[in-house]
């Protein structure tokens, strides 16, 4: 299969410079990363090290200043349903019910009504929101909103799901439950996930690979494959060993905190 050789996402020597009135910000400097289909990659690093910028370049919301961002070998020119984004603050459409939020993508792509309905039903079930299909976003808890946001990109046939600190605003219990659910969905669907987080523990719990980034200018410090077996136990000695190593990598630069 040629497909398995070409990475689904490839970032080649990508730099991103933001120019404000009186200063230029090197948000991302010479980033290289290659993601295979089905991988779960976590980006971790202190605030301002360019995690969101990298994710937004993959999404197509930003263009690299120099370098190439590729999907299946072709340049990413703009946002596209094949790369779905899950935002930290949900970004649901407040005027649409849960059902219509999930139907937004399929309907925008002009699918037949019956197909849209079937798709939506399937994904409402997948994230366990059957009872709240006709509720509006302001009536939902944070965890439920994030479930809708996930269902919305999955219902739109996203191959790559980009998540920018998606569980950062949730309480610890909801967060753990959503991590489990996300892994479950990922394992059953063969999605590719790029997941930004502040939490070392979250990264080690979820990822096949943890990409550590450092600020000033934002760059990729190291790319760490995790050979830990799933399901992972946060309390196991192996888990803690990895956590210690990662923590050292994160803190070696400028003494910045990452927790």
């Amino acid at each position: 299969m040629a497909e398995s050789k070409t990475p689904i996402i490839e970032i080649k020597q990508v730099s991103k410079v933001f120019k404000l009135q009186d200063q230029t910000i090197n948000a991302l400097h010479d980033a290289n990363i290659s993601i295979r289909k089905g991988e779960f990659v976590c980006l971790i690093g202190a605030s301002g090290c360019g995690k969101s910028t990298l994710l937004r370049i993959i999404a197509g919301f930003e263009q690299p200043t120099t370098g190439d961002a590729l999907m299946w070998g072709s340049p990413i020119k703009g946002p596209d349903p094949t790369r779905g984004m899950v935002f930290q603050d949900y970004a649901l459409f407040p005027w649409l019910s849960v059902r219509d939020n999930i139907a937004f993508g399929p309907a925008s792509r002009g699918l037949a009504k019956a197909v849209v309905k079937e798709t939506v039903d399937k994904f409402i079930d997948l994230v366990g929101l059957g009872k709240f299909a006709s509720a509006y976003p302001h009536q939902l808890s944070g965890g439920m909103k994030q479930r809708v946001a996930i269902a919305r990109v999955l219902a739109n046939d996203a191959e790559v799901v980009l998540m920018d600190e998606p569980f950062g605003a949730l309480d610890a219990m909801t967060r753990e439950r959503l991590q489990d659910e996300l892994l479950d969905i990922w394992q059953r669907t063969g999605l590719t996930v790029v997941f930004v987080t502040h939490s070392i523990e979250e990264a080690i719990f979820l990822a096949d690979r943890v990409v550590v980034m450092t600020p000033g200018p934002g760059r990729i410090e190291s790319d760490n494959p995790l050979l830990l077996q799933r399901p992972r136990d946060v309390a196991s000695p192996e888990f803690n060993d990895i956590r210690r190593v990662m923590s050292a990598k994160l803190h070696s630069h400028h003494g910045k905190k990452a927790a």
Binding site: A59, G84, D125, Q139, V153, D184
Partner: protein
Amino acid sequence: MALVETVPPPAALVTEKPVGKTPWGRVKPLVLALIVPTLLLAFWHIATTQRWTRLIPTPYEVGEYMIDFAVGGIYDDAFSGTLLTHLIASMSRVYGGFALAALFALPLGLMIGRIPTARMVLDPFLQVMRPIPVTAWLPLSMILFGLGPRSAFALVCLGAFYPILLNTIFGVRSVDPKLFEAASMLGCQGNAQFYKVVLPAALPSIFTGLRLGLGLAWFVIVVGEMTGVPQGLGAVIMDGRTLSRTELVICGMIIIGIAGYLSDRIVVMIGNRLLAWSPTHHG
């Protein structure tokens, strides 16, 4: 197959119901709302029966006149039983002028909000025009549109115009930028975003503008009907003034207040229905 066994019920779905269940809880808003009008009425009654002033009729006289104005049979003068005629005349100007204002202000507001060039061309001009009060337009309006209903119509329209325009611009400009990104990554791009993102997101503001606009249309109706129209509540008030019939003036004022209030309640009810999704729109 559901991945979640126990989903906590959404906060708003559970907490909204059990408000105002007791009998007192139900009548309390009404009782509180009636305190100020009752005190005012009492003061009015005392002030007029104690002869602190001789220029204002007593509440009882006004009440009696109101009945005559509404159905006739007491004084049988030129105004007896004409309330409905005047009310309808005023309502047609209020709603007509309001509709005309909405017809201009909505597309203009959407344009100014969305198109930077349109904003640069129109915004400074409109900012200068806006502080000019409707009363100041009265003479010019009578020259342009003549004495009579057309002028009244134009002035009411002008009164309703700016709140609709400004709130529409505000609504369109304050759409959360994340929603455009969300729409575009879901496959809704370019002009389709106008209908699927901008319009619905701006709807609460647009609605607020329409509500304020309709309120202002009632607010300026008397000025509008200073243009020499024979019928309308504003005309009745102007006639009352020239004839020194203060009870007529007060009747006209009360009816405008009540009609404006009811009209606003209806708009709010429509809004609550239409904007059930918006947490800030439960008037």
